[in-house]
Each structure stands twice: as C-alpha cells, then as structure tokens.
Symmetry: C2
Subunit: 539 residues, 2 copies
Amino acid sequence: MKTTIRAARGTELSCRSWPQEAALRMLHNNLDPEVAEHPEELVVYGGTGKAARDWNSFHAIGRTLQTLKDDETLLVQSGKPVGVLQTHEWAPRVLIANSNLVGDWATWDEFRRLEALGLTMYGQMTAGSWIYIGTQGILQGTYETFAAVADKRFDGSLAGTITLTGGLGGMGGAQPLAVAMAGGVAICVEVDRTRIQRRLETGYLDVEADSIDHALQLATSATGPLSIGLLGNCADVFPELLRRGAPIDVVTDQTSAHDPLAYVPSGFAPGDEWSVEQARESMARHVEAMVGFQDAGAEVFDYGNSLRAEAQLGGYERAFDYPGFVPAYIRPLFCEGRGPFRWAALSGEPADIAATDKAVLELFPEHESLHRWLKLAAEKVQFQGLPARICWLGQGERHLAGLKFNELVESGAVQAPIVIGRDHLDCGSVASPYRETEAMLDGSDAIADWPLLNAMVNVASGASWVSLHHGGGVGIGRSLHAGQVSVADGTELAAQKLERVLTNDPAMGVIRHVDAGYERAEEIAAERDVRVPMAAAGE
Amino acid sequence: MKTTIRAARGTELSCRSWPQEAALRMLHNNLDPEVAEHPEELVVYGGTGKAARDWNSFHAIGRTLQTLKDDETLLVQSGKPVGVLQTHEWAPRVLIANSNLVGDWATWDEFRRLEALGLTMYGQMTAGSWIYIGTQGILQGTYETFAAVADKRFDGSLAGTITLTGGLGGMGGAQPLAVAMAGGVAICVEVDRTRIQRRLETGYLDVEADSIDHALQLATSATGPLSIGLLGNCADVFPELLRRGAPIDVVTDQTSAHDPLAYVPSGFAPGDEWSVEQARESMARHVEAMVGFQDAGAEVFDYGNSLRAEAQLGGYERAFDYPGFVPAYIRPLFCEGRGPFRWAALSGEPADIAATDKAVLELFPEHESLHRWLKLAAEKVQFQGLPARICWLGQGERHLAGLKFNELVESGAVQAPIVIGRDHLDCGSVASPYRETEAMLDGSDAIADWPLLNAMVNVASGASWVSLHHGGGVGIGRSLHAGQVSVADGTELAAQKLERVLTNDPAMGVIRHVDAGYERAEEIAAERDVRVPMAAAGE
Ligand SMILES: NC(=O)c1ccc[n+]([C@@H]2O[C@H](COP(=O)([O-])OP(=O)(O)OC[C@H]3O[C@@H](n4cnc5c(N)ncnc54)[C@H](O)[C@@H]3O)[C@@H](O)[C@H]2O)c1
Ligand SMILES: NC(=O)c1ccc[n+]([C@@H]2O[C@H](COP(=O)([O-])OP(=O)(O)OC[C@H]3O[C@@H](n4cnc5c(N)ncnc54)[C@H](O)[C@@H]3O)[C@@H](O)[C@H]2O)c1
C-alpha cells in the first residue's frame, strides 16, 4: 500500500459529527509523512509504534468512523476495529486497547509471536491512540527536562555546558533543539545518517560533525547554543569520549533501547539483523560509559527508554546507579497535576494555533516558563501535519484552556474545531516502574490500578476517545498507560465534557501522588478542591 | 473490628439514590457472615479475596457513598477509596481497580510485598467488586459444567457415576450439590473439617465419611445421587484411590491452588506455615494422580484454580495433559454471549426473587435447562445474605431480563430495586490463559485488550459500578478481568442504561469469539445484530 495519507483540512465533514471526524483526521494525521517515521508500514514513532494493525484494519476503521452515529462507540483492539455498540451521547466515540498482555505472558517473545500471527500490534503511547503530533510533542517535555537540569545544577541555564546524548529518532530528535533552547551545546550520537539529515532539514539540529575530534572541537569552541550531530554508535562513541576525558557536563540517551531488536549493537548498521544478546551487550558498554561520566561528576539521567534495564540484562551491574528523569526532575510537576497538554487545529490553519497560543498566554499571564516556551515554540517549531501545540498545564488550568478553546470555536475565532489530548506520559495515567512511577515515595511503583482507573474516569467524564496501552516507551512488561482525546467543537455539550475531562484527568495525578504521600500533591488537592476521601482523616 | 456487617433491607435509603445505596448494600452483603468466609478479616471468598483494603477503608467507602451525588463518581483503588470526581448521570457511581500490577512485577512476591505495605489487596473476582452472592454464585456454573460432562460422556446424566474432587471452600463447596443435581455420586476431599461441617449444615453436602474405605463403600453402594465429604489431603487421598483402582468416572479439583500459601501441603494442617516449594511438591503429586485417573479412562478436567501450573512448577511434567473446563465445556456457551447473569433483591425479601424467577421462566419459555435449573435452585438453594439468583443467559436475553426486572420494580411487583451483575468469569470480560481463554482457536489466549475494552464499554454504557481486577481465581500474573453491576430502580434512565449494558456486555463475548474465529459466534453475531466491522468483509 503506497497511498500517501494526510488528514483532511477545513470544515467539510466526511463523518456525521466532529468527534468522529476528529478521530478520523487524527488517525490520518498520525500517518502523514511529515509526522510518521515509516508511514508505509503504519509506524508512527518509537521504532514500532503503529496507528493501526494493518492496512485492512486502517481502512475498516475509516469506513466505520464515517458512518458512526453520535450515540455509538467503535471498539479498537490493538489497531483493529472489532465492534460497534450503541452507547449514548456522553460516551466516547472510540475505545481503544493496544498491546495488552496478561502478566506472565507479557514478554517480547510472546508479543512478537502474537504480532506475527496478526493478533496484536505495538501501540506506543500516542501512535495507536491517534494523538501524536510529531517531534514537537516531545520537544516541550524535553525542553522542560533540560531546563530543570539547568535549574538544579547550572544556575538556570545550560550556557557554557556540553550535553552528550544518543538517538535522533521521533522522540530523541527533539533533544538538540531543546538543549539549544536551554542555552547549551549538545553532541547527539546517531547511528543512522538519514535521521541526522532529517533533523538538519527541520532545523532541530544545527550542524553535523565529521568525526569525534570534529564534534569535540565544535563543542568546546562554541560561543553560544549549538547542536551537533555525530554519526556513530553510542556503544562506541560514549566510551571513547569518556576515555579521552571529554568535558561533558550532562549525559542522557534516547536510542530505541526499549526494544533490543531496534537498538543497533556496535558493529551493526540499521537494517542488519542481530540478536537480543548482542544488543544487550552493547547497551551494557553504553551504560557503563554513562556511569563513568557520572563518577567523573557529570549530571547523568535515564530518559525513559529502558536502557538501564537492558544493560543490566546484558550483565552490567551498576546500570541503575543513575536516576530516571521522572524522579530526578518531573515528579514535582506531576504532584501539581501538570503534564503534556496538547492540541491540534482541525482546520489545518496555522493561524488557529496562533489564536490558541494567544488565548493560553492571556489565561495564565503570571506563568513565566509557559510564556518563554510558547514564544520559543512559535519561533522555532515547524508544524508537522496538522498545526498543533503542546504546553504543560496542571490541575485547575487544563479545563480553563479547554473551555476557552471551545469558545474560540463557537465564536468563529478559529476556523474549525480543536482536538485536545495528551501523551500517556502524564501525572496520573501511567504505571511504569522504570520511568513515570520510578522510586515512588511509598514504594507503589508497580501498582497498575491507576492507569486503569484513569481510563475509566476519562470514559466516565465524556472524552471523545480513550485508550489503554501496554509497553509504550519502556517496552512490553514494563508499563500500563492510558490516554484521552476530547474535541472542542464549540457546542454546549462539548463544554460540559471538556470541563469534566480536563478537571478529572489531571486530578488523577494529584490523587495518585496524594495517595503516595507527596506533600505538594496534598497542598494542590486542598487548594484546587480535589476530593480525596481518606486524606483529611489522616488515614 | 468485630462488628457484624449485614446489608440494610427494605426501602429506606441511607444514600441519595438507589445506585449508591445498592453499592453500599452489596459491599455490606459481601461481608455478611452468611456470605463471607472470614468477614472479620474482610475476606469474602477464595482464601484471600477481600471486599475492602482494611476497616478504615471500608468505613470511608461507606461514608463516601452516603453523600455521593447522582453525577459524582467514587474511585476505589485496591479496596481503598481514593477520590471523588464530578462526572454525569450516565456515568458509573463507582469505578474500581483491584490488585493490578505492571507485567514484570506481576508476581506473588511483589504482590505480597505491596500488600504488607498496605498498598494493595487481593480482589478475587466478585469480592472486591461487591457482587458475590455466596455459594449459589458458583453452584449454577458448577451444575452447568457437570451437566456438560454428563452430556459429553454419560448420555446426559451422571446417574451411576462417581466423581472425585477436592476443596469445599467458597467456590468448591458447590461441587457436591451440583454433582448430585446432575444425578451423580461425589466424593469431596477437604483438609479442613469446619468446611465439611458448613456444607453439611447448608445442605450442600449429604454425608461425611470416616475414612477412605467408608467413602468408597458409601459411593459404590449408593442407589441415587449422593455427596460424600471426606476429611483428608488431596495430595494423599487422590494417589491412594488411584493405587486402589477405585471406580472413579470423573475427576476435578477446587482446592485453593491458585495461591501456594493457601493450598495445604501433605503433612500440614490449615493454619500451619509452609513454603511455596512444599505446596508445589504436594500439588505435583495431586495432579500426577489426576493424570493417572485420566490414563485409566476417567473424564478429568481442571476447574480453574491454576493447579496444573503450580504442579508443573513443582516438577511434574505432564501437568497439562488434561484440559481446563472452559475449552472442554464452556467455550461454546461463551460464543453465544452466555454467562453468569445474577441478581439480588435489595428489599431482602425472598418473595422478590420468586417474582424474578417467575419472570425469567416466562421470558424464555423454550429454554429447557434454564427451567430445570431454576426449579432445582428454588428448591435446594438456601439464600445467604440478600436473596439472590443466578442463571446463565446469553446475547439477546440478558437485556430482556434486565428490562423486565426494572418493570417489576416500577410496578411495585417487587418491593425494592434489583441489583444485576455477573461474575468476572464471563464470555468477553476476561483474559486468562489457564482458564477462560485457554486454547483459543487463534492462539490469542494471552491478549489482554478484551477485559480492558469490556470495562470501558460498561463504563460507556451506563453500569452503576465497574471493576477491573488482576489475578482472580488463577492468581497474580495469570489473568485480567472486568465486572459490571447495574441497578434496576424502576426509572426510565435505568431502563435505558440496562438495555445498553446488558446488550453490550455480553456482545463483547460474541465479538471476542468472532475475532478468534469461532463459527458459532459468527452465527450469533449475525442472528442478534452484533456489529463486527471486519467480519462481513471476510477480513
Ligand atoms: N523520555 C520520554 O518521554 C520518551 C517518550 C516516548 C518514548 N521514549 C523512548 O525513547 C526512545 C527513543 O524514541 P524514538 O521515538 O526517538 O525512537 P526511534 O526508534 O524513532 O529512534 C531511535 C533512534 O536511535 C538510533 N539508534 C539505535 N541504536 C543506536 C545506537 N546504538 N547508537 C546510536 N543511535 C542508535 C536509531 O537509529 C534511531 O534513530 C525509545 O526507546 C522510546 O521508547 C521516551
Ligand atoms: N472454576 C471457577 O470458576 C473458579 C472461580 C473462582 C475461583 N476458582 C478457584 O477455585 C479454587 C477454590 O476456590 P474457593 O473459593 O473454594 O477457595 P477457598 O479457599 O474458599 O477453599 C479452598 C478449600 O480447599 C481446601 N484445601 C486446601 N488445600 C487442600 C488440600 N491439599 N487437600 C484438600 N483440601 C484442601 C481448603 O481447606 C479450603 O476449604 C481457588 O483456587 C479459586 O481461585 C475457580
């Protein structure tokens, strides 16, 4: 199948109503060549994260959405449409469950066996739930993370520092721009030249170095923000830089380490075949170098791709010596219900995003880092597919933005409805002991009740589509996570739904962290009327 | 805490509306000493299946339900009330997630660690979801199973046959009565005398034998249905009966084998302490004898308690030589959306159940086995706690019963609302490769998208409370399953909700089996208008 997929623009509907139309356009948008890494294989991002199980399923989803009524619900099981049921107007139009396996069978072997039988697909987080918006999606989170690193270690700016990282794929490609936005220099090691090329073209990467020497020379002589691509394998380059005593201040990595068959081992090229053992052996060397940099005084953190776990399986014992980015930088934000709020303009008009940017700035005039981000984003971000924006908003903020967008649609200030969603990586939507729930205060890292409650809460609050996935960025057996997308179509019903969804969804994050004993979450719950039955009684 | 818990009866409400009141009464009913195995420890059935995490949680749930509004939703995380959110009238009043763990952490060790920290509880299926109705719940399923065994091997009746089984606990206690109802003789081996006593008192068991010899003598000289309790350990008694060449026709088991610390190993007594290894060693001997009976020509099946898997871990290689009861007898019913429909009378009046029995008989005049069951049940079943009934109904039947019950409430033909729910062991609500989804036609046994979709569908269809559990009857790491309970309070809104829930919930079973390639399910889908987008196209 070689057709190029691109979301329809404008106000003409091919479905009965906007929520169905929105699902259809966002499914298509996920496979827009500007957005997807391998659209011809239905792969959106993360190496294997797909939007639909196969092309027959893709077309059947489209056909079904086009006839789906306003009180009907389509069921999607790992990218395949399996049923249509009569529900009601407040119910989601689509319910999605992707890649889920029973615990004892939650292994890559079993997953691949089932995938080969055509019975499942890997949904990543926003690939199979139709709300991926290209590299911008992660750019903001990545920017927030590096800004937090700067706050913690370098007096609020990465100016004068060198960051070393790996991977310039769908997620990792945001790193060079994010580091530069935070004022620093980045050396980004990537084994696939086409990825380097792509980041240069989209302005996410400034220059490519010819060699390790060249990269170091560029980095140490830079007088301002600079991002440098370097063709090479992290398992070779990281140890070599360590050996040379290169002046690296910050180290992380976003190679596709969650899947040993996607991580390219030393000595191999993308497209080759290798074994899980070979990949793990390389990851062990890769992580060993990262621990070496930490021993030498650098700020080192895991960026949520399971690299440490795989390196440990590869025989390197100190793999977990450096922390994940969530406990290190993100958890305080989660306690406030803060997370990756994002939206897209179904009109296809960049002006609609400009209007929403302005509305958000006006809604939260005192929110400094938000203003800095939105200004930089408007300058630097090239839209991929439908124009979209992301910014982190918290409890008590998200629903205000949602209601405001709905007003903009109603009044005609934007040209078509706005789709509002988020990553599954959010404050109360995920159980992932190597990432979002690593090192919880009460030890509840592995408890998976929360994403299940989150999905049910979003279904019960009026989201337009809701998804429950397994694996995501950290791989099979390592996470469960939920997502919601809601459509601001300017109607009164949409306003009521948005108010509930965008209040309750982040509230799950506040509640989850109150339950785990975080004081900041308790403060927020008290301040913003999040009701936690046993919090007051002191349990 | 020593207070005796018992559900309120009658029409006086302590909550704002019937759905909340129903949740409260059913929570209490689960802990009624007539219903629960160890109410003082909040344990309802299955050895460790609890209704609430601890007494503080129990009381907080009660308090919260008593003030919960008709557009609010209470969240329960492993038996603890963690939040109250504003939703809407069509949303469930309670959302429950119990015992769920991320795949790689889905082990008994991790579960017990978290349980000891007070962070989780074991919810079994209907314990933590507040719709256990005592031994009758399983009696009907057990009766259907033995009737199916009779159909398959013994010309439709167990008359003249001897069935050997183990375990007379909450679930297993139904076996003697079910075998007798199907015309046969049962020898039931139980290591705890108090359990034998209890089954004698409630009329589920006819006599107790003093010894193996006595049991055999009673069994072989019986001239009609007879159930015999025998104090002993299955790991000793089963091999001994095999050695003696006892004339056993059917063999199964319902000891608490899902949890090696609940299964009593040979040489130990209930209440002793033993190791996982000791339990598995005994289970290996227990299963070895069962395989021996099969080799000798008996009909042998696993009754959904993970005994085979544990015996295999205990070193016995042929453990999976005999099938689970689902592929052997139950799957054809699942293809029709058939499963354990159950209801309880909130009035507390047995007359209300008599009225509903009559209504069901009138609704389905041609359904022979249903008539036989309801007649036997009315005679033999002693109510435990609130009067309740169970019968297996399928796609196209359940909603008719629900709507009829709602009419009975509206017209005053019954004295108070009727609560309608089901076991999690149902046609489309569970992924459990050792039980409900063992040996699926397409190999999709371990795919867990289905219970998650089922829960979301029930939330989206108007159920009063919805639950998502892990572990159930087969143990941690081995299953995911969902449940719903809906309240027929005689209102028009309840009728609309019941119609959707009781159509969509069993439809998930039809859809799941269509997707797996079962022809019977395709026929039912065509006959009863279950819409499966890719079925018609032949995929
Ligand atoms: N931190 C987060 O918030 C987050 C979110 C989602 C996903 N992830 C995880 O981050 C990782 C990256 O995601 P992505 O979407 O960019 O994946 P991707 O597959 O699009 O990109 C991975 C890149 O790593 C490169 N690579 C692989 N092995 C390499 C090696 N040994 N040396 C150098 N380069 C190598 C590949 O060529 C590819 O370009 C994944 O594991 C993903 O699951 C993290
Ligand atoms: N088939 C189904 O549909 C279904 C449904 C739910 C649960 N189950 C499973 O069935 C099993 C029984 O459930 P239950 O609620 O009756 O559990 P229970 O704990 O109430 O009863 C188990 C009984 O087995 C006895 N026992 C334990 N070890 C023994 C041994 N070695 N020899 C003889 N007796 C022994 C115990 O004394 C106890 O009375 C559990 O594993 C449960 O998970 C099956």
